[in-house]
């Protein structure tokens, strides 16, 4: 295949040169060969069928061109009158048929390999949300959300004034990448919490849809370490272009270290390595989410998710209607909190944030039941950066300072509200999304404001299942004091709790 691919590349370049001036020699014209055995095979098939098409094309277009040049009336060419030949018709039916068989056989072989996801070395549950990805290392107890990085996010706003060319990996960078070990068969279990998404990193293989109510699987085994980028490939709404995927393929040692840093259990991957059915995997995962306890001082970097549960009534969660608990996930969970605390201090993360709360308990529902789209969407987001700069004991909903509320509220607003109401609170009146700035709700009665966030209104989903009291208090406070809404109101979590 190598010879073919070199040949083919130069062929494509030559073809492309018809349209491309030499100044742009670095333009990508062809598919990447990728970094797995199967992507190489797929690339080989791609080139095989490409060259078959080129050869047929040269034959057909060559005959046409010759005929157009020679058999023209202006040269005095007299028309012949032959037509109808069964022999010829049979020949040009049979020959393509044989060519197709020649292609179909290797294609079928490759397809069978791609679809064989048995005996994975590890399993990661991937859940699509509008508009970010959730990764859940079912055996290691690592769980986090991965969304468009801040720089791209700022630059992508309409009239942001930021040149995308100045942003590193514009639209192809995330706040927290998926990390996997090299030379290991990684199985992904794909599902969605809202609409259909599609997980696609070209260098690691084809795409597979993440569909609510379904668990699809796909797998890859990367041969080379490196960072590979892709993005959602199925139209999923306004933010479809803005949910990139970044996969870091690292050595086993680095991977183990990463898992430990995340508060996971690096040794756990063997437990599920024997190809357990995905429901078991999911169970294990549900357990990992289930029973952490509030942990004071637990801080993790960035938007990691592995931290504490705050409100006991929201912590337990079972998955897809499967009540029984599988004990495999238990042990990593016990370790998690301490590991996380340790991890953050080890790495001296520049930005220390407290956890956002109950959200990871929710994600259990994502794999199979497809319910609660809006909640899924909400939960995925709220857990990311939710908030303030104090790490300690604000968890139980005590009094919070206005600064805390404002900074946490800004985060929540940026993640959940800004998509429709816009970062500057101007809304999109044409699309039916009212402005925050000076709005009757955001400057009027506080309890109406809280109630609308709790219960939703019209196209706006209810957030009572996905945001906790503290987060709602924060975002209400923020909305009442930002965008020139100088109400001066400070809303405390207790007020929200009363209205629930």
């Amino acid at each position: 295949m190598n010879k073919i691919s070199i040949l083919s590349r130069s062929g494509l370049v030559a073809l492309g040169a018809l349209f491309v001036s030499p100044a742009y020699a670095e333009w990508t014209l062809n598919m990447n060969e990728g970094v797995t055995d199967l992507t190489s095979e797929v690339f080989g098939l791609h080139m095989l069928i490409f060259w078959i098409c080129v050869v047929i094309g040269i034959g057909v277009f060559g005959a046409m061109l010759y005929s157009v040049i020679v058999h023209r009336k202006s040269r005095g060419f007299e028309a012949s009158h032959f037509h109808e030949s069964t022999v010829v018709e049979i020949a040009w039916t049979a020959v393509p048929f044989i060519i197709l068989i020649v292609v179909a056989i290797p294609a079928a072989g490759t397809l069978l390999q791609i679809e064989d996801s048995s005996d994975p070395d590890m399993t990661i549950r991937v859940t699509g949300h509008q508009w970010l990805w959730e990764y859940d290392y079912v055996d290691q107890g690592v769980h986090f959300f991965s969304r468009l990085d801040r720089d791209s996010d700022k630059a992508r706003q309409q009239n942001s004034g930021i040149d995308p060319n100045t942003v590193e990996h514009y639209l192809r960078n995330v706040d927290k990448a998926m990390v996997v070990p090299v030379d290991k068969k990684v199985r992904l279990l794909l599902s969605s919490g809202d609409v259909i998404h599609s997980w696609w990193v070209p260098d690691l293989g084809g795409k597979k849809d993440a569909i609510p109510g379904y668990i699809n699987d796909m797998w890859f085994k990367a041969n080379e370490t490196g960072t590979y980028r892709g993005q959602c490939a199925e139209l999923c709404g306004r933010g479809h272009a803005f949910m990139p995927i970044v996969v870091k393929v690292v050595s086993q040692d680095e991977y183990d270290q990463w898992v430990t840093d995340q508060g996971g259990d690096a040794g756990a991957d063997s437990q599920l390595a024997q190809g357990q059915p995905s429901t078991d995997a999911a169970n294990a995962q549900a357990q990992t989410e289930a029973d952490s306890s509030p942990t004071a001082g637990n801080a993790t970097e960035g938007r990691t998710e592995d931290g504490s549960e705050v409100e006991p009534d929201e912590t337990s969660e079972t998955l897809v209607g499967e009540g029984e608990e599988n004990n495999q996930g238990g042990s990593p969970d016990d370790q998690r909190d301490t590991d996380a605390a340790q991890a953050s201090s080890d790495r001296g993360s520049p930005k220390v944030e407290d956890e956002s709360v109950e959200s990871d308990a929710e994600d259990g529902s994502d794999s199979g039941d497809g319910a609660d789209n809006a909640e899924q969407q909400g939960d995925s987001q709220n857990d990311s950066p939710a908030g303030g700069d104090q790490a300690a004991d604000d968890s139980a909903g005590g009094e919070m300072s206005k600064d805390e509320l404002m900074s946490q509220g800004e985060e929540v607003y940026g993640n959940l509200c800004a998509a429709c109401h816009q970062p500057d609170g101007s809304g999109m009146p044409a699309a039916g999304f009212p402005a925050m700035k000076g709005s009757a709700v955001a400057t009027g009665d506080v309890s109406t404001h809280i109630s609308q966030i709790l219960n939703g209104k019209g196209a706006m989903p209810p957030y009572k299942g996905t945001l906790d009291d503290k987060q709602i208090a924060a975002v209400v406070t923020y909305e009442r004091n930002a965008f020139g809404n100088e109400t001066g109101d400070v809303v405390q979590p207790s007020q929200v709790a009363e209205q629930r």
Binding site: M64, T93, I114, D209, A233
Partner: protein, 545 residues
């Protein structure tokens, strides 16, 4: 209008409006409007369909310019991503249901009765009704842009659950599609009934022109699949408003079910948009090669095979939804099989040209452009058929390039070729050949600048339906956008040329028009009288296929 005919004075045109001649504008605006609203004449309705389709192609084209403007550079410059999604959705719906399909129905209206030697379609009032539904359907569809919440933004494929997030536009989109579907079905029934019952006595089925044959098969496809689309969108409607959960996993439904139903309609729909094009090209090439079509009967069989295969390949649009591997294998093999009859058609066209005596008037140029560029679209289609490779191509710009190659230089070029070919017959004057030649070369160059780089974008990993992209995709997107604008501008030359024909400004056309033309439509005067073949013609065997 093209059927207004000052030269045919024996037809009592003018004030004698209860006889055969059509009412003209000279008779007053209101009688003239009443004529066009109430007309049951196949030629009038053919004209209306064509004008309607060109209005829609223009609107859809403007939407594509919005899309290409936003994609000219990375970053969001002009439109909100939500509005962008409305544009891609409406661009597709308008182009498919408002542009290409009515254009072919218009051509069938004009030509099928004249080609088979009958006076009109079998059901003229149904014909009128079928057309006048369309302006209402598309006013409703385009009107959604004015709603708060905007138009539909789920892509023309309307996949749930995303489509459930559509606002007030959802029921309007569904009803617009219902109406467009009713229009298509009535048109299709009319054409089938006409072809099967009203052929001139000396015209057996296998002696029919290929355009008539391809339309007969297309009409059957329409009757078979438009109800399927209607059912699918109705289920979306009841899911949204009446609490059913056909496609909602939370209620025991299945989002993938919709995709199966949609594409069971959608794939035959692809052939609905290309089979009449095959018929047009199979008519034009023999005329300008002055040589009979190489294998008329095998062309008919090839079209019929393609139509059959179109019903068993739908899932190749959804290889990535996670089907059983056995289903993936089946749909891969079935899809590859389509290459065989399609190949037969292309080989036949080349064999028809071979050792002919060719001239290259504008219709022939567009037909040859069709053969080359449609074949390129066919090649990428063959590549897409291979499931393991499709996992890479799927939902990337490679797919966008593929279906635009078969639809724009495919279907649309064939429509343009047909209009250049027959407009002398319709209006009685020749179009401006120089402008026609310019129109072809301009279009042929820019259409490739527009769509060829999209192959590269797809292979490099750019997904479709995104308003903003990573910077490595910038250069090809810029080229593509320039191509789009230039291609669009070139079409005004065409419109000017056609308007000049409709105003009877140009060289008088003879009845035969083209030296090598064969077929009943060329045995009547140019322009064709308002009523043709009121008594069945005696057919000279040389006019038969």
């Amino acid at each position: 209008m093209s059927t207004v005919n000052p030269t045919h004075s024996h037809d009592h045109h003018g004030h004698d409006d209860h006889h055969h001649g059509p009412v003209t504008l000279a008779d007053g605006v209101w009688p003239w409007m009443k004529r066009w609203i109430g007309t049951t004449n196949h030629k009038d309705l053919g004209t209306l369909y064509l004008i309607f389709s060109f209005v829609m192609l223009f609107i859809g084209g403007l939407m594509s310019l919005v899309i290409r403007a936003e994609l000219f550079a990375p970053g969001i410059q002009f439109v909100d991503p939500g509005f962008y999604n409305e544009m891609i959705t409406l661009h597709a719906l308008v182009m498919i249901f408002g542009g290409v399909m009515p254009a072919f129905v218009g051509l069938a209206n004009w030509m099928v009765p004249m080609m088979i030697g009958c006076s009109d379609l079998a059901l003229p009032r149904v014909n009128n009704w079928g057309f006048w539904i369309l302006p209402f359907a598309f006013t409703m569809l385009l009107g959604t842009l004015l709603l708060s919440g905007g138009g539909p933004a789920s892509g023309w494929t309307m996949y749930p659950p995303l489509v459930m997030q559509t606002g007030n536009a959802l029921p309007l989109m569904v009803f617009a599609l219902h109406l467009a579907g009713i229009s298509s079905i009535t048109g299709a029934i009319n054409i089938v009934v006409t072809i099967l019952n009203m052929r001139a006595p000396d015209m057996p089925l296998l002696k029919m022109p290929l355009f008539v044959w391809t339309w007969l098969i297309t009409a059957y496809l329409l009757i078979a699949v438009m109800p399927v689309l209607a059912g699918a969108v109705t289920m979306i409607l009841t899911d949204h408003f009446f609490g059913t959960t056909f496609f909602d996993a939370a209620g025991g439904g299945d989002p993938v079910l919709f995709q199966h139903i949609f594409w069971f309609f959608g794939h035959p729909e692809v052939y609905i948009m290309i089979l009449p094009a095959f018929g047009i090209v199979s008519t034009i090439i023999p005329t300008f090669a002055r040589k009979a079509l190489f294998g008329h009967d095998s062309m008919v069989y090839a079209v019929a095979s393609i139509a059959f295969l179109s019903f068993i390949v739908w899932a190749h649009h959804m290889f990535t939804v996670g089907m059983p591997v056995s289903a993936e294998l089946f749909f891969m093999f079935a899809t590859m099989l389509i290459a065989v009859p399609t190949g037969v058609k292309v080989f036949n066209w080349v064999a028809t040209m071979w050792r002919g005596s060719m001239t290259f008037e504008t219709p022939m140029l567009f037909a040859l452009g069709f053969v080359v560029l449609f074949t390129i679209g066919g090649f990428s289609g063959l590549m897409l058929a291979l499931t393991p490779v499709d996992f890479q191509y799927h939902d990337s710009y490679f797919v966008v390039a593929h279906f635009h190659y078969v639809l724009v230089p495919g279907a649309i070029f064939s429509i343009i070729a047909a209009i250049y070919y027959w407009i002398p017959k319709w209006t009685g004057v020749m179009y401006n050949e120089k402008l026609g030649q310019f129109h072809f070369w301009w279009s042929a160059v820019w259409i490739n600048v527009l769509f060829f780089p999209q192959h590269f974008l797809g292979l490099a990993g750019m997904p479709r339906r995104i308003p903003d992209y990573a910077v490595q995709f910038t250069d090809f997107n810029m080229i593509s956008s320039v191509g789009a604008l230039m291609f669009f501008l070139g079409q005004f030359v065409f419109i000017y040329n056609m308007i000049m024909c409709m105003r009877r400004s140009g060289k008088k056309a003879t009845g035969r028009v083209w030296e090598g033309a064969r077929g009943l439509e060329w045995t009547v005067a140019s322009p064709a009288p308002y009523h043709t073949f009121e008594t069945p013609p005696k057919i000279d065997p040389r006019e038969l296929a």
